[in-house]
């Protein structure tokens, strides 16, 4: 059953009660919340995700976003995220309740799922090859990811590249794409038909909104992809598109530093990381116009199409 098949009343009842069971990629969650914004965000962005199944008695992550039990709530409404009774972060203004759920779910994965080498990067796929896009905030990674997945690339993740330690393949986790500040408007202009939810203002990342993942990416969320490229995007006003080869050694060092759990895996982190670099080509990528960037990625995917 998919979330969109639940009536609003049923969704509210489950969220306020024992929690909504929902699967994203390889993980199952039980999400509990009495905050309307959280229900609204789930209804708008997670319609295609599986909400009940044979495994329903078990959930990997039991999470909740609820008003904190403090006096502050009478002064200023807040929301607190908890992972099975433990609050890893300070409460945030109620207006940020939905992004807080997203950040909380990312936190659960990045602190627990050590069966993967987890790199802070977006991943998109075309013709069976995955492009890993690591980049510091502000590099235009999310905008580029959103543009690509609205142009025929499959979304694997906008935030967490999950490298399966046994197979070396990338495991999809196609949750909503987080858009910040100007990129919200850029995406609305790029694809007027796209659904982006109500923005939350004044978060630590500025204004944040989430884009609904493409149906096809969600349908194929159990289909891993072979890593093909590691591409460092950089948005620069007025710059022409340029794809330039990049040192593998440097790329490895960057990935190791930007992995959430590289040091937790010990020697195996090195093995998985170097195996990943060995099977990919590495590039730096500069762009200013999103459609030009998408065209450049399409050319790259077509030129290295496996037979």
């Amino acid at each position: 059953m998919r979330l969109q098949q639940l009536s609003t009343g049923e969704l509210r009842r489950q969220l306020a009660g024992a929690g909504l069971w929902i699967r994203t990629g390889p993980f199952s969650h039980r999400v509990q919340s009495r905050i309307p914004f959280v229900m609204e965000g789930l209804a708008e962005l997670y319609g295609q995700f599986e909400v009940s199944g044979a495994d329903e008695a078990f959930a990997d992550f039991h999470v909740a976003v609820n008003p904190p039990a403090s006096l502050r709530r009478w002064l200023r409404p807040q929301a607190a995220f908890s992972f099975d009774g433990v609050q890893p972060f300070k409460p945030l203004p109620r207006d940020q309740a939905f992004p807080m759920l997203e950040w909380g779910l990312n936190w659960c994965v990045s602190t627990q799922a050590h069966q993967y080498l987890i790199i802070h990067a977006a991943v998109v796929e075309k013709n069976g090859q995955a492009a890993i896009l690591p980049a510091p905030p502000g590099s235009g990674k999310s905008t580029l990811t959103a543009g690509l997945v609205l142009s025929g690339w499959r979304l694997l993740s906008d935030e967490l590249a999950l490298v399966d330690r046994k197979t070396g393949l990338i495991q999809p986790l196609p949750r909503p794409v987080s858009l910040k500040n100007k990129s919200i408007e850029v995406m609305r202009r790029f694809a007027p038909e796209v659904f982006i939810n109500r923005p939350s203002h004044d978060t630590v990342k500025g204004t944040v909104a989430h884009m609904r993942p493409p149906d096809d990416s969600v349908r194929r969320q159990h289909e891993p992809a072979r890593p093909g490229w590691v591409i460092f995007p950089r948005w620069e006003a007025g710059a022409p598109v340029a794809l330039t080869p990049r040192s593998r050694a440097q790329t490895f060092m960057f990935l190791a530093q930007n992995a959430f759990n590289y040091s937790h895996l010990g020697a195996d982190g090195f093995r998985v990381g170097t195996a990943l670099i060995d099977r990919t080509t590495c590039y730096d990528f500069h762009y200013s116009q999103l459609h030009e960037a998408v065209a450049a990625f399409d050319r790259l995917a077509d030129s290295t199409r496996p037979d």
Binding site: S28, D55, A57, F58, A59, D60, H62, S70, L71, R72, D84, G85, V86, Q112, A113, H114, Q115, S263, H264, L265, G266, D268
Partner: protein, 359 residues
């Protein structure tokens, strides 16, 4: 299900039972084990017993991921001990390691699948200033405690404020005794140091003798107010006892040593609750002997009410209506044992005010 409250404890006692668990039970088991800091240890136990295949696919990765982390911490602790040893190279006396890091150094079964927060070391009190300076030169610095907390540590505690390494972020607790100066009992640290033993492959590093390790673990558990990992510490004790009991005259030695160090009461509680929770094979005649250290009947009934609750996993599924009261009682009791009333009351009052101010 009413049986789920002590699911983790029952599983630790009889791992075979997992073959009858439904997916719903695994949901609770994984959560209780994570809350208790025992995911990796339980995973290890199940693997040791050849039961890994009986874990359903959905739950399996939780154990494997925790064991991955534990394995990495094991290696990290070994390496960190060498760094600490090197930082303290100027000292003639050996470096004595306590608790979890000691189990790793001595390669005890209690090291398997154990997760760490810090490394505890024991040094003579008069060496403290030099030890602290040497560790600072090697990159460890006092953690961001309030001035009050720092003063409190230095004046009343048996350890200095925890020191965190600037780059690796590892934390060392430097102790000069195993209980605060202000506590009711004063085990003589010199006696502990005198019987410390060397470990293989780690020159200059020593651990406490088997009985002392157990007594220290017990003392720590039954004098600590917060007990976030009470059950994990109890499984440490269970593993330490099972390993040490292989020695012929271990039990009489343990009892005599507890008496000598004034730690009989802690030993009594330790043996009572490892038996209760984990069915540790403590001979009946040992139980009879440690009865001499038991509190009165009324106190014991109260302690049972407290400890059977606070030593359970800190998870909603393990709690009952009295659990919050039991946790508060354990907190107050621990402080009561650690400080005389004229120090305790202002300290708790201050803590209460500061805590209110934070929320």
């Amino acid at each position: 299900m009413s049986l789920s409250r002590d699911l983790l404890v029952r599983t630790l006692r009889t791992p075979d039972a997992i073959s009858g668990y439904a997916l719903r039970d695994w949901d609770i088991l994984v959560r209780q084990a994570r809350a208790a800091g025992l995911l990796a240890r339980l995973g290890h136990r199940l693997r040791e017993q050849g039961l890994s295949e009986a874990i359903p696919m959905q739950a399996r990765w939780h154990f494997e991921a925790a064991e991955t982390l534990a394995a990495k911490q094991y290696t990290a602790v070994c390496w960190e001990l060498k760094q600490i040893r090197a930082a303290l190279a100027g000292f003639d006396s050996p470096l004595i390691v306590l608790k979890g890091a000691a189990y790793v150094a001595a390669r005890l079964p209690a090291a398997a699948g154990r997760l760490f927060n810090d490394i505890d070391i024991l040094v003579p009190r008069d060496a403290l200033p030099r030890v602290e300076t040497s560790l600072m030169l090697a990159g460890w610095h006092a953690t961001g405690l309030s001035e009050y907390d720092k003063r409190y540590y230095r004046r009343w505690m048996h350890e200095i404020p925890p020191m965190r390494h600037v780059r690796r972020e590892t934390v060392i607790d430097v102790h000069h005794a195993i209980l605060p100066d202000t506590a009711r009992y004063h085990p003589d640290s010199a006696k502990l140091r005198a019987r410390a033993v060397a470990v293989e492959d780690m020159p200059g590093i020593q651990v406490l003798a088997a009985e002392d390790r157990i007594l220290h673990s017990a003392t720590h558990l039954f004098h600590d107010g917060e007990l976030p990992h009470g059950l994990r510490d109890l499984t440490d004790l269970d593993l330490l006892l099972r390993e040490a009991a292989a020695d012929n005259d271990f039990w009489p030695r343990l009892i005599a040593r507890a008496d000598e160090l004034q730690l009989g009461r802690s030993l009594f509680y330790a043996l009572r609750y490892v038996r209760h929770f984990l069915a540790t094979p403590v001979p009946d005649k040992v139980m009879t002997a440690v009865d001499a250290f038991s509190p009165g009947r009324a106190t014991l009934a109260l302690m049972d009410g407290i400890f059977t609750r606070v030593l359970a996993p800190d998870h909603a599924s393990s709690a009952d209506l009295l659990t919050p009261a039991a946790r508060l009682a354990a907190f107050v009791r621990a402080h009561w044992l650690r400080m005389p009333p004229h120090l305790l009351i202002p300290h708790l009052a201050r803590k209460a005010v500061v805590r209110e101010g934070k929320t």
